[in-house]
């Protein structure tokens, strides 16, 4: 099975992505949503909270498993994807689109250097 890995964003080893263009959005990869299966609940921080690179910031629950979400980059949460409250399945249906999790104001741009690009991430999940 092959997974979608768009090259307009960068990836953390734990399968979260961050876009490179503003506003910086964070989500989980196609591979991650497939591993989790049917997502039923996403627990996210509030707007104004800060999240830290490679640290847990929330939880995604699927029918079969619970998994921590890790922040690709540090920063302040500007927007939370409220649509996931009623439609957590958007994470499965469009992990790079309507299933995004947070918009973040990054506090340390240099952290982008530590993320994998699409090719590197594709090798990781191959």
């Amino acid at each position: 099975m092959s997974f979608d890995v768009p090259d307009d964003r960068n990836y953390l080893a734990s399968h979260e992505w961050a876009t490179t263009d503003e506003p910086i959005r964070i989500g989980i990869s196609d591979f991650a949503q497939d591993e989790l299966g049917d997502v039923v609940f996403v627990e996210l921080p509030d707007e104004g909270d800060t999240i830290a690179h490679d640290e847990p910031f929330g939880v995604v629950e699927s029918i079969k498993a619970v998994s921590d979400l890790h922040a690709p980059i540090s920063g302040e949460v500007v927007t939370v994807n409220e649509a996931l409250h009623d439609q957590p399945e958007l994470v499965n249906e469009a992990p790079y689109g309507d299933g995004w999790l947070l918009e973040v104001e990054p506090s340390d741009e240099s952290e982008f250097e530590e993320l994998m690009d699409a090719d590197e991430y594709e090798d990781q999940i191959a």
């Binding site: 099975m1 299966g37 049917d38 609940f41 627990e43 029918i63 079969k64 499965n92």
Partner: protein, 368 residues
């Protein structure tokens, strides 16, 4: 211990199934999605490969006595073609496993222990037979059989199409498999293969469970044109019905429970002689301190195995099974509570990652 694989492992792999280790077996957990498979079974039909279940044949003059002594239910009440749900208990009445027993023609029984329990069950039967000088042959045939479950409102229609011939009607009154009573089994031909077809299941839906020779597995599987389902949806379906999962909702060491505590007292016939009878008679007299029941969470979150259940801030129990119910759209859980709290409507809480989520005691099944 080497991992065991069902006869159709390769067929499922080609179909794109994901696999999981369950009781030492590498079994399909998901073919498409748990939700899609779950919904298919509730609304139409699905087929499960449950070849991880054990098959042990007991035959001979003392076969009935041996079955009677080692299971809690009344085996002597079974007619040929009957299927009977029962518990296997130790001297203390603690459930070692739960099982389905089929009475076959002649002095013959087939019982179905859970995944990974077949060798222990075989040993238990052999040891008891030898210690009590009983005349019976005990054969562990797990590797020789495939087992499938076809479940859902359309399952009996599919079964009627697939069954070519009922060879020797046992529980069946007619040659139409749809006339087979619940908890009855019959020998039947499917895709040219000799099968044992029983009107039983683990989903709360109508349907059949089919046992066939491992060599015939592919043809029999292919005879049912419906959604293939993995162990993931099997688990969510049985949880919605409040059905026990051996090793998880009870476990001889980690969570020792009796049939009365586990809500399956109906499998215990105290008028028969069996291992654990005296302990269970005493418990029935005294009453149970804890009872298996269900919870519906009133807040967002998913309760899972091992999470604490609290009442007025005190830990009063532990979740043994929990999920988001695909049918209800609400998080549900199963577990043991002090009997006085195990009343419908009692407000308790489940601790989900450090946060108490309000929950209401609800006797399963969660769906009707």
């Amino acid at each position: 211990m080497a991992t065991r694989r069902p006869p159709l492992y390769g067929v499922h792999e080609d179909r794109g199934a994901g696999f999981t280790d369950f009781g030492g077996w590498e079994m399909p957990v998901e073919f498409d999605s748990i939700r899609a498979e779950h919904t298919a079974v509730r609304e139409a039909a699905g087929i499960f490969d449950v070849s991880h279940m054990g098959e042990i044949r007991v035959e001979g003059p003392d076969a009935e006595t041996l079955m009677q002594r080692l299971t809690t239910n009344d085996v002597s009440s079974m007619d040929v073609g009957d299927a009977q749900y029962s518990c296997i208990t130790d001297e203390d009445g603690i459930i070692q496993d739960d099982t389905m027993t089929y009475r076959l023609p002649g002095d013959e029984y087939l019982f179905v222990p859970n995944a990974g329990h077949d060798e222990a069950a075989e040993q238990r039967w052999v040891d008891y037979r030898d210690a009590n000088d009983l005349d019976a042959t005990v054969s562990n045939e797990t590797a020789e059989w495939a087992m499938f479950a076809v479940q859902g409102p359309e399952a009996m229609g599919l079964a009627a199409d697939a069954v070519e011939d009922i060879d020797a009607p046992l529980g069946a009154e007619s040659d139409d498999i749809r006339d087979l009573s619940r908890f009855s089994a019959t020998e039947a031909t499917v895709a040219g293969a000799d099968c044992l077809v029983a009107r039983t299941g683990y989903t709360g839906e109508d349907g059949v469970e089919i046992l066939c020779d491992a060599d015939d597995a592919e043809a029999v599987w292919a005879a049912f044109d419906c959604q293939p389902c993995g162990l993931g949806s099997r688990d969510t379906l049985r949880m919605e019905q409040g059905l026990l999962l051996s090793g998880q909702d009870f476990h001889p060491e980690e969570n020792p429970r009796t049939p009365f505590e586990a809500g399956v007292g109906f499998t215990v016939d105290l008028d028969t002689e069996f291992v654990g009878r005296d302990a269970l008679a005493a418990q029935k007299e005294a009453g149970v301190e804890e009872t298996f029941t269900g919870l519906v969470l009133q807040e967002r979150g998913v309760a899972r195995h091992g999470y604490d259940i609290t009442h007025d801030g005190e830990t009063v129990g532990e979740v043994t099974s929990g999920t988001m119910s695909p049918t209800l759209g609400d998080p549900i859980a199963l577990g043991y509570l002090p009997t006085d709290l195990a009343e419908d409507g009692t407000e308790v809480a489940v601790v989900v990652r450090g946060t108490e989520k309000r929950a209401e005691v609800t006797t399963p099944p969660f769906i009707q």
